[in-house]
């Protein structure tokens, strides 16, 4: 257990050292947040509620998006695939203890750093200036925190599954480049999923993309415990998928010699 905590700490430390990237990221977040806020203010000038969301919900969505952006669409996206391709990953499999947990621990350390240094400050400043709908109680905030960490875990699991495609195809980059823009949209990073037309929304609500952004937003705006439950369920499902992939890939490596 201590080994995993050590990895967590290592990941946290590594990510915290990227100070320049942090400043850059915060600036980008702030700018896009401001523009999107202006857009929503303009949109809600004539209407009070659309698709069940009012302006406070929309603004909360915007700033949670900006806060979680670097957590979910982690800048170190391609790392796993590249490590597999370069053969470095074989080393990981040879190390003691569970490779999946090890990778998760390190990744979580990094995302915790991003949460602490980017997400929380972004939301804190935004809520001071704008009418966001964030939980007012300690319990509510704690639930939101849990939801965001779960979003980070699901993000890792999805990245792991995608990254493992590198075991089977050398051309993973082309695949990613074509698939990710669609996932980007479907996760609600362009517009809230609530604005999707009915059938599409129903489809997305049942996908592992909801835990990434919309779940924390719903926890914030509506205190939705259901959203957290969905996240937990997906963590479990993706866990199983991850273990399956790892087992298959390890066998393949052993047989083919990397």
């Amino acid at each position: 257990m201590r080994a995993y905590l050590a990895l967590l700490a290592a990941g946290f430390q590594r990510q915290t050292s990227y100070r320049l990237a942090l400043a850059a990221g915060l600036t980008t977040n702030a700018f896009f947040g401001v523009v999107r806020t202006a857009v929503f203010f303009a949109l809600y000038r004539e209407r009070d509620q659309v698709a069940g969301l009012d302006v406070a919900d929309a603004l909360t969505y915007v700033w949670i998006l900006e806060g979680l952006f670097a957590v979910v669409w982690a800048p170190w996206f391609w790392e796993l695939a590249e490590a597999i391709r370069s053969g470095e990953f074989v080393v990981e499999l040879l190390r003691p203890r569970d490779p999946y947990l090890r990778l998760l621990a390190f990744d979580l350390g990094r995302t915790l750093s991003v949460l602490a240094l980017r997400t929380v400050p972004t939301l804190a400043v935004a809520t001071l200036v704008l009418p966001l709908r964030l939980p007012g109680t300690v319990g509510g905030l704690a639930l939101l925190g849990v939801s965001m960490v779960l979003a980070a875990v699901v993000s890792f699991q999805l990245r792991f599954l995608f990254g493992s495609a590198a075991f089977w195809t050398p051309d993973y980059r082309s695949l990613f480049m074509l698939v990710f823009p669609v996932l980007w949209l479907l996760s609600g990073f362009v517009v809230p999923v609530d604005f999707f037309p009915g059938p599409l929304r129903a489809l997305v609500d049942w996908s592992p993309l909801i835990p990434l952004l919309m779940a924390p937003v719903r926890v914030a705006t509506a205190g939705a415990g259901v959203a957290v439950a969905t996240q937990v369920a997906w963590v479990a499902v993706l866990w199983l998928a991850g273990r399956l992939v790892l087992a298959t890939a390890s066998r393949r490596l052993v047989v083919h010699g990397g």
């Binding site: 202006a38 303009a42 949109l43 051309d171 074509l178 669609v182 362009v190 604005f195 999707f196």
Partner: protein, 269 residues
């Protein structure tokens, strides 16, 4: 001068040939770039269809702005991608820029022509397709005047984006810190200019009409294309100013670049 241009075109062609050696990857990148544009536009439409309008502008009209902005950005980045502050700082750090200076060409010409990113051609084409679709949906009847305005919007915005890249690159020779500001202006600026300017507060509007005039370059000519009147403070005739303003901005970029080179040669990194 014409013969110089020929050299740069050959360099650019060589770069394209090099990337074309992996055609599948090239195709994927280009399609991906177009896909990203499509996704953004789809998102805007999903949103605006729910709300009906923004700032009095119908969805198709907003999409026109998106299309113009993407086309301009694609055009600027096809050549200007190599000027991105991260890449320039890499050139400096690895000492590769010294080699650039030993060539019998202008360093800017060499850097720009040495790598042409066809990914942005995808963005351009998708942007242009968006413009066509949007004007069709908005019921715009194309006249030579309107076509000129659309072309003006794209050209001026592209020039401004290129100017931003030049300024950032110039700063990169002196300090490494320019990349964030530049990226925010490039990508954030394009996003901002894709919505009608009247929705923004006066501070944002001022910055993006008069300081980094992307708003001026895209919004005002779009007014002409759509046959709309601008809000007070942004009348339609400002479209005639967008060319000189963009040119001035580009010239500023050139000065920043030259100053950066002078600094590099003086201090030898």
């Amino acid at each position: 001068m014409a013969e110089h241009l020929g050299v740069y075109l050959r360099l650019a062609a060589a770069s394209v040939r090099a990337t074309a050696r992996r055609p599948a990857y090239l195709a994927a990148r280009t399609v991906s770039a177009g896909l990203i544009v499509a996704i953004e536009v789809a998102g805007v439409l999903l949103m605006l269809d729910r709300f009906g309008s923004i700032g009095g502008w119908r969805p198709a009209e907003v999409v026109l702005l998106f299309g113009l902005a993407f086309t301009a950005q694609g055009l600027a980045l096809v050549f200007g991608d190599t000027l991105e502050a991260d890449k320039v700082s890499q050139l400096v750090r690895r000492g590769t820029f010294d080699q650039v200076l030993t060539r019998p060409t202008s360093p800017l010409g060499w850097v720009v022509a040495s790598y042409v990113d066809t990914r942005f051609v995808g963005r351009m084409l998708a942007g242009a397709a968006t413009v066509v679709w949007a004007t069709d949906r908005a019921g715009v009847a194309w006249t030579p005047g309107r076509a000129l305005l659309a072309a003006l919007a794209v050209a001026c915005a592209a020039a401004i984006i290129f100017g931003v890249l030049l300024v950032a690159a110039g700063f990169t020779f002196v300090t490494v810190q320019a990349s964030e500001a530049a990226n925010v202006l490039l990508y954030g600026g394009q996003y901002l200019a894709s919505y009608p300017m009247q929705i923004y507060g006066s501070a944002l509007r001022f910055v993006f009409v008069w300081v980094v005039p992307l708003g001026l370059a895209i919004y005002v000519p779009a007014l002409g294309v759509l046959g709309r009147q601008g809000p007070p403070g942004l009348p339609g005739w400002l479209a005639w100013l967008s060319a000189p303003v963009a040119a001035a901005f580009l010239a500023l970029g050139g000065l920043a670049w030259r100053a950066g080179i002078r600094h590099y040669v003086g201090t030898g990194s």
